[in-house]
Symmetry: C2
DNA sequence: TTTTTTATGTAGCGACCGCTAGAGAAAGTT
DNA sequence: AACTTTCTCTAGCGGTCGCTACATAAAAAA
């Protein structure tokens, strides 16, 4: 193998360019990432992109594979290496919390947020503020409960509110992904087991 | 008040049209809903839409207000009416699980999914399948644990996996919305308290 | 060198986006 | 009736989208 290519050699590194594309899709989502964005970040012209990666969809497919083998590989490792189911799941969540907030690359999970595209910053910010405001109302109500002595004081209202918010948002995502009402109620059953005693 | 309008009266009901717009934004997201989609569903021409609602962003703003006062109002009611913080949070989650899967309108929460726009069905489905596949690997690992006697048998592997998946997706969303690493680790602390004993 | 093969750069295609000018239609006012 | 005000319809604007034809450049093969 390793036979010399015949024609003019590619002027860019394919892996580097693919990583640049991954970052774009990760940060802005599939639709909101334009081919112009991609070519600018990858440092190549549109014809080179199409020659090397096919069309935009195919490129995104390659990005998904690359993500699964790099940034998204921690889940599989946790499942394979931890001795118990509990340890595996806890490690998945712990490493997710770290990975999702790691500096140097976009936050969150590509597979979850690649479908999230907002070209209009005002709309995106309005929605984010609305979500955070909802969590804040949770925190406020929980603080009332703490002040009333309902809840052990070793749990912060904001942490508890963020937890409820995360479950809430997870329920919304799962409902979109096809979960049934019974399935979601079972999730709530489990979620409430985490509630601290008085 | 109630003075007669001067010119030609509007040929459509504003509230009905607004509700139609809400459904479109809810189902397809802000960006993926085109003005052509809106005018078709609302049964009016583009100039009528712009005359009655301003531009697309302003219309979406009205939609958010309408949503908060109707489909999205259950949260506020729960916070106001339940006597304890725990009861309030549980009711929020229970009613969310019901509302998010209710037939007759799009699933999930508008405020969460209006930023989710995917015009390309293949991409949307690929991402959804990937997410569901991840939950399935969780379920598989958990079932191993149940078979090994690690976990009380009254908890199903699939329910537990969906719970972990929901928290996972919530972590991702919260990281996008600005939560810190410490904040997310605190969420994981709480999430793991729900884990069933052996 | 000449030929063949592949990559690159320019330039622009057709389709769709949000949005609107301008003419006509339908109401109240006089 | 004539006039004013407001809405609706047709048609299309400028801009951006994903994508590509075509000429040229750079390598191996003959």
């Amino acid at each position: 193998m390793a036979t010399k290519q015949r024609g003019r050699p590619r002027s860019f590194d394919r892996e580097t360019a693919l990583e640049k594309a991954l970052r774009q899709f990760w940060e802005h989502g599939y639709e909101a990432t334009t081919v112009a964005d991609l070519t600018r970040e990858m440092g190549i012209g549109a014809p080179s992109l199409y020659a090397a990666f096919g069309d935009k969809r195919t490129l995104f497919g390659e990005v998904l594979v690359r993500y699964a083998g790099s940034y998204g590989a921690f889940g599989g490792r946790a499942l394979a290496e931890e001795p118990t189911a509990r340890a595996a799941m806890e490690r998945v969540l712990r490493e997710a919390a770290d990975a999702f907030t790691e500096p140097g690359h976009p936050h969150g999970c590509l597979v979850i947020h690649a479908a999230t595209n907002c070209t209009t910053p005002e709309v995106e910010q309005t929605l984010r503020e609305q979500r955070n405001a909802n969590v804040a109302t949770f925190a406020s109500r929980i603080q009332q409960g703490i002040d009333a002595g309902e809840i052990a004081v070793d749990v912060g209202a904001e942490d508890l509110a963020r937890y409820v918010g995360a479950v809430f948002q997870g329920l919304s995502q799962q409902s979109r992904d096809g979960a049934t009402r019974e399935g979601l109620q079972a999730v709530v059953d489990l979620a409430m087991r985490a509630w601290p005693e008085a």
